[in-house]
């Protein structure tokens, strides 16, 4: 089991291979569907003019995400009234929905790790090679367990997206993940998809 703390160096990333189990620690940011769409449209492709506190949040995110990790997660959070936030349940959400955006977001912000579940496609895999970065698979549904690895919630951006879709800045300690896409073009998801398709084709002839 490898222990890695954010920010992560290129050297550490290049060392990681598909199948490696990792305990991750340090600061990271959650972001999913609304966040990715907003980042691409407002800061990467600039098809939408910045509004409200967008530019201020952008400056903060650039610092937080540089060398760090984005987590595809829509948590259950307590303390919403008092702003004494605590993650109650915080497993990964399905990552493939961010496939149109992820590689560009990784490169724009120099994100070294993407945590989610279910894996991602060819575009993100290429993004992992170029950035370089890795895709880290967390265990879907293991929400109470993962929430216990979140030791601190520093704050939240874009709460108007709703609690699940907001960008939460958190500190984690020993968050268990598995590398399923590495920076050398390896993808466990591509391997399993191909192998299972072969079996399916055979089953369809029976």
């Amino acid at each position: 089991m490898k222990q890695i703390t954010t920010p992560i160096s290129d050297e550490t990333i290049r060392d990681l291979k598909v199948g490696d189990a990792v305990l991750l620690s340090g600061t990271m940011v959650t972001g999913r569907d609304a966040a990715h769409k907003w980042m691409i449209e407002t800061f990467v492709k600039k098809t939408r003019p910045p509004q409200g506190d967008d530019m201020q949040v952008y400056e903060e995110l650039k610092k937080l995400l540089n060398g760090s990790v984005i987590y595809h997660c829509g948590p259950v959070v307590s303390g919403l009234d008092t702003k004494e936030y605590k993650f109650v349940a915080a497993g990964p959400t399905t990552s493939i929905r961010e496939e149109p955006y992820q590689a560009d977001v990784m490169k724009h912000f120099n994100i070294k790790g993407v945590i989610g579940k279910g894996g991602m496609g060819a575009k993100t895999l290429k993004g992992c090679e170029e950035t370089p970065g890795v895709y880290l698979h967390a265990i879907g549904g293991a929400a109470s367990y993962i929430a216990q690895t979140v030791t601190k919630v520093y704050g939240v951006f874009k709460l108007e997206f709703g609690v699940p879709e907001a960008l939460w800045v958190v500190e984690v300690k020993d968050f268990p993940v598995v590398v399923t896409m590495d920076s050398h073009g390896g993808s466990q998801h591509a391997v399993i998809e191909e192998a299972s398709k072969k079996v399916l084709d055979e089953l369809l002839t029976r």
Binding site: G19, A21, A34, C73, G74, P75, V76, V77, S78, V88, A89, A90, G91, T93, T94, I96, K117, G118, G119, H137, I139, G140, G141, A142, A143, S144, Y145, I146, A147, Q148, F161, G162, V163, P164, E165, P176, V178, T180, Q188, H189, V191, I192, E193, A195, S196, K197, V199, L200, L203, L204
Partner: protein, 290 residues
Amino acid sequence: MRDLTNEILELIRRTSSSLPPDVEKRLRAAIEKEAPGSSARGAFETILKNIEISRANSTPICQDTGTPIFYVHYPVGMSTRKLKEQIRSALAEATKRSYMRPNAVDAIYDKNTGNNLGGDDFPYVHFEEVEGDDLTIELMLKGGGCENVGRQYSLPDNTLGAGRDLAGVRKVVLDAVQKAQGQGCAPGILGVSIGGDRGSSYIKSKEVLFSEMGTRNTDPKIAELEERLTSEANEMGIGPMGFGGATTVLDTKIVGLSRLPASYFVSVSYMCWAYRRRKMTVKGGEVIYD
């Protein structure tokens, strides 16, 4: 009529935080089939640890507390309007207590209501009048990840060589499992309905998921297909989370409906391993949870 808001709140807490024993038993058996040190075994270890933590702390098993699907069987004369109000109040309170994540998002304006109450469609509540004096409320929480990998086929399907018969049904269900990969949080449980119109077909494919693990269709021909589909799905080796492994599907449940002569729909509802469903029964003054 008695106010059951608090009792329904307890049903929601149990459903969200305590996995039913029949599901946990299957998961505990499945871990033994994975090689020591494999990612698949690691996934099961995390899953089992999470089940224990959630139950001990009354915290959600999965942060995606899903679409709340209520099935209410009520005796003659009970007000379904009042029951629905109580269900909605209980759900809002459960959200406040972090048993549930606020999950109702206005699809036109992208606004999360913050309390899990959408329009009349959210939560989903189905009422059925029954004989006798008992009231039962069943709740299923179905997350978005597994809901997104559900599929509906209109047979014949030429790309899969699936005709309008049980052999064709078998082919499309296996295709649905392969396409889902690990994205529905495998190992999954398949709810399959054959027939109906597009709407009723999908609804019944979820309704069949209220039954216990291992419950077989009373028609031996269908029961055999259920067993065969589970076993063949596992031959594909997708495994927990899509990591590769021995168990991809834990169980398959099939229901047959009436169809129009022109239509032959097969709907596959994929349920994630976090198969959250619980039941409460009100018997006289007593409330019994399963």
